[in-house]
């Protein structure tokens, strides 16, 4: 009976441990993007994965960084453990205490502190910073695995070797190292595992050309994970599973073989292994090195583009590369504010923020004036969208798209009678089925509009009132505060209604025909997103070429078609079929947006108030 309970208990726990993994693996074979319903078996995601350069590159970065970090950490850590063992009590205490810090302070703190260090040292985030950080948090695991083995070591073993004629060097390599080998190997494996599994530290230390898989996954997690990622992870998981099994079998075999070994045969020198390891190393180091050297040789050839997630037809990038010979490094953000933070510490050539953020960047001198002579296609942009409030002199920006925030709702669940106003978000009938934006400007903007105030108000009382309204919603009707996850939750019917941008509404309505869109009568946010060149851009020429390319009629049209947002180019608008030109979702009518405003840059004081109110509201 007791046995049974034990078995049962273990079974339950292991099911708990493996359920998510099973789900992940299963859905890598699902013939649909859905993560909750099964649509038949397919290997498409695996095929697509092998065609996705970004995923492959990140996989490569992950493994490369893990191998290099594990090797360095193992060497440094083993040497350190041997040295520490020989130290006096006091020095040893100091060493071990510091050694424990990375393990006992959280990885969030580690990540943040590395970020500060590297920005202090003016190291650009990249492979180097990533590897330095990984080595640092891997070493303690090596030290802690080697130390016990050293303590177990027969004190006289080293002397015995000297006694038998071995020089100190020989004694070290032939006796000490082989005897602590199990500890070294375990330490190395742990270092490797931890490096591969790490997300937090990488998140704070990876540059945009060296994002490991976990960081790429994170940028996807916030909106929707492509089953391609499930496929990559499944492959990685299975690969490691096989590796572990092979190691296990070899160990058992070696153990059996050892018993039969002829006496004097010199230990099969691990030359084979060394060669293999060497080849692997060359492959691993060679890749990025070639990349780096190629990179440094053509430093001027890279264009770093930083855009909203799923906000560009990425096949255009290839087209651009083919036409101009530049290489595009494309990364994404999910809010203007997080873009702003990143821009403080990293260099990009083209960024695509929204109106009010453009104004802020201009104010703070973070973007540079654009030489429109180098962007002939700028002339194609409809004058309606130039010289707007955020860039009245039209010196710093090139409009990319425009749109409005509206409500997207599911006609199956929401009564026609309840739509038309922001009121829907606070309608108790739909408690727990609606969601709010997860950033202060957008969320408070909606509340302000609902209350009949300006979205750009600097009146603290009005802002407080708006914040109270959101707090109320949080306590009563909101299922949660989301940003990009809305894109997935609405079509999956996890949510019945939520505010979102009209361009994405088009995409969602394609996925789930029950969805519909309206612009609330109280008015809303009308936004224009524009391309800018940051002051710290390294490749202004490339940036100009890229912007010009994106402004060409063909590219702009293809892009508008793909992302569903409205283009600021007259010709593109005119190229659209009539039903789209008149579609209130694609191109909301003038009267629909009559009450709407664009966000303006706020005073520092109000910005602070926003942050404070938001913090209060999140308690």
């Amino acid at each position: 009976m007791k046995k049974f309970i034990e078995k049962f208990y273990m079974a339950i726990l292991f099911i708990l441990l493996y359920a998510p993994i099973f789900v992940l693996m299963l859905f890598s074979f699902n013939d649909s993007k859905s993560r909750v319903s099964w649509h038949g078996f397919t290997l498409d995601w695996y095929v697509q994965m092998f065609q996705d350069e970004r995923i492959l590159h990140s996989l490569y970065v992950t493994i490369f960084v893990a191998v290099i970090s594990a090797i360095f950490a193992t060497i440094l850590g083993t040497a350190a453990a041997i040295g520490i063992q020989k130290m006096g009590r006091r020095t040893r205490g100091v060493y071990l205490t510091i050694n424990n810090i990375p393990m006992s302070s959280s990885d969030t703190i580690m990540g943040v502190s590395f970020m500060l260090l590297f920005s202090f040292l003016a190291f650009e985030k990249g492979y180097l910073t990533l590897i330095l950080a990984h080595v640092t948090f891997c070493i303690p695991y090596v030290v802690l695995n080697v130390m016990p083995k050293l303590r177990q070591l027969d004190k006289n073993a080293y002397e015995a070797a000297l006694d038998l004629g071995a020089t100190p060097r020989q004694a070290f390599w032939k006796v000490i190292i082989p005897e602590i080998m199990p500890g070294i190997v375990t330490g190395a494996i742990m270092a490797f595992t931890i490096s591969i599994d790490d997300f937090v530290v990488s998140y704070f230390t990876a540059g945009n050309t060296s994002q490991p898989l976990s960081v790429v996954i994170y940028s996807m997690v916030r909106r929707r994970i492509s089953p391609k990622i499930n496929a990559v992870s499944t492959i990685l998981f299975v690969f490691i599973l096989i590796l572990l099994i092979v190691i296990n079998i070899r160990q058992t075999r070696a153990l059996n073989k050892k018993k039969k070994l002829t006496v004097y045969k010199k230990r099969s020198h691990p030359i084979g292994k060394c060669v293999l390891a060497g080849v692997v190393c060359i492959f691993l180091i060679g890749g990025p090195l070639a990349g780096l050297m190629g990179g440094s040789a053509s430093e001027g050839q890279i264009v770093n583009v930083y855009n909203w997630g799923e906000y560009m037809d990425e096949s255009l990038l290839e087209q651009f590369e083919a036409e101009t010979g530049y290489k595009v490094v494309y990364t994404t953000f999910d809010s203007n504010e997080s873009m702003y933070s990143r821009l403080k510490t990293e260099s990009y050539d083209v960024v695509i923020p929204s109106d009010y953020m453009v104004a802020r960047l201009i104010n703070e001198g973070m973007v540079q004036p654009i030489n429109y002579d180098n962007i002939p296609n700028f002339s194609l942009i409809d004058e309606k969208y130039t010289h707007l409030a955020f860039d009245p002199e039209q010196q710093y920006s090139v409009p990319y798209t425009w749109g409005v925030v509206g409500m997207i709702y599911n006609t199956k669940y929401i009564d026609e009678a309840d739509i038309g106003s922001w009121d829907l978000l606070w309608n108790e009938k739909y408690a727990g089925e609606v969601a709010m934006f997860d950033n202060p400007r957008d969320a408070l903007g909606i509340a302000l509009k609902y209350l009949g105030y300006s979205q750009n108000t600097e009146n603290a009382d009005e802002l407080r009132e708006a914040a109270a309204l959101i707090t109320k919603g949080k306590q009563t009707t909101f299922q949660g505060l989301f940003m990009d996850q809305i894109l997935e939750k609405l079509p999956n019917e996890e949510l019945y209604a939520a505010p979102y941008y009209n361009g994405d509404a088009v995409t969602m309505m394609d996925e789930n025909p029950d969805l519909a869109f309206y612009v609330p009568k109280e008015g809303t946010n009308l936004f224009v997103d524009a391309m800018c060149i940051p002051t710290n851009a390294k490749n202004v020429e490339g940036a100009e070429a890229f912007i010009d390319f994106m402004c060409s009629t063909e590219a702009a049209a293809a892009n508008a078609e793909y992302i569903g947002y409205s283009s600021p180019q007259r010709e593109v608008y005119e190229m659209q079929p009539e039903e789209i030109q008149n579609d209130p979702v694609h191109y909301p009518s003038a009267e629909a947006v009559a009450n709407s405003e664009t966000f303006l840059n706020l005073s520092d004081e109000t910005n602070k108030l926003y942050t404070a109110l938001w913090a209060e509201l999140l308690k």
Partner: protein, 283 residues
Amino acid sequence: MKKNMAYPYGVWMVVFIVCPILLIVLYAFSDSAGGFTVENFAGIVEYWPIFVRSFVLALISTVICLILGYPLAYIMSRQPPQRQQLYMTLIMLPMWMNFLLRTYAWMSILENKGFINQFLNQIGLISFLQNHFGYTLDYIPLINTSGAVVLGMVYNFLPFMVLPIYTVLIKLDPKIIEAAQDLGAPMRIVFQRVIFPLSLPGVISGITMVFVPSVSTFVISKLLGGGKYMLIGDLIDLEFMGNAYNPQLGSAIALVMMGLIFLCMWVMNKFDDGSSEEGGLML
């Protein structure tokens, strides 16, 4: 000559462990212009409820991990060696699947239309509740609750509780247990008075290894808590990489969190004095 071998790591530690932490301290006490200030700490007061929530949720997760993990470690330690190896591998293996993905997969399981609710619908439990108890929803809300956040923490950090306890338990001399039985203690007492006290070092290091990452995690709450249950980790992320961009305030928050964590560890170590060195987290 062998002492020298630790010197490279000594230098490394100073540059990559000590300096970064000093930088956090430096930033925490400076304003955006670089002058000295303590205002950042005043700013933290506003966020106090987030601190409280983080510590409470982390504490709950740690306790659950302990309750679930100890028996597991104990059962494991009493298996034949071959079997132990297998269980160890099984516990470590999930770590090879990316942690974000594992957490993400829980979304599929917990969502309103996720697997659990699908299952409950299938067996008719939901309609039963609706018909007989006037339940109005057609699902049971699981995701975007603080329970889901705790589940995410427990799920991700359970192995960190099991491994150190297991390591200590297998090192226990079986003769000690026999001796206790020989002295007339029934198994329950043997456990209470001998096995558990002796495994305390493992328990302590397990608690540390679960509590610390739970307090500071910043992804789990985002994915499973629906952004409604902000934790300190999210706050730090917000200040360094997110909407707020204020590394000085972020550093102050990190510093206070670090201080609180060390305080917790210190209090806990008071309970168990002799175990500092053999904290035994390793395999």
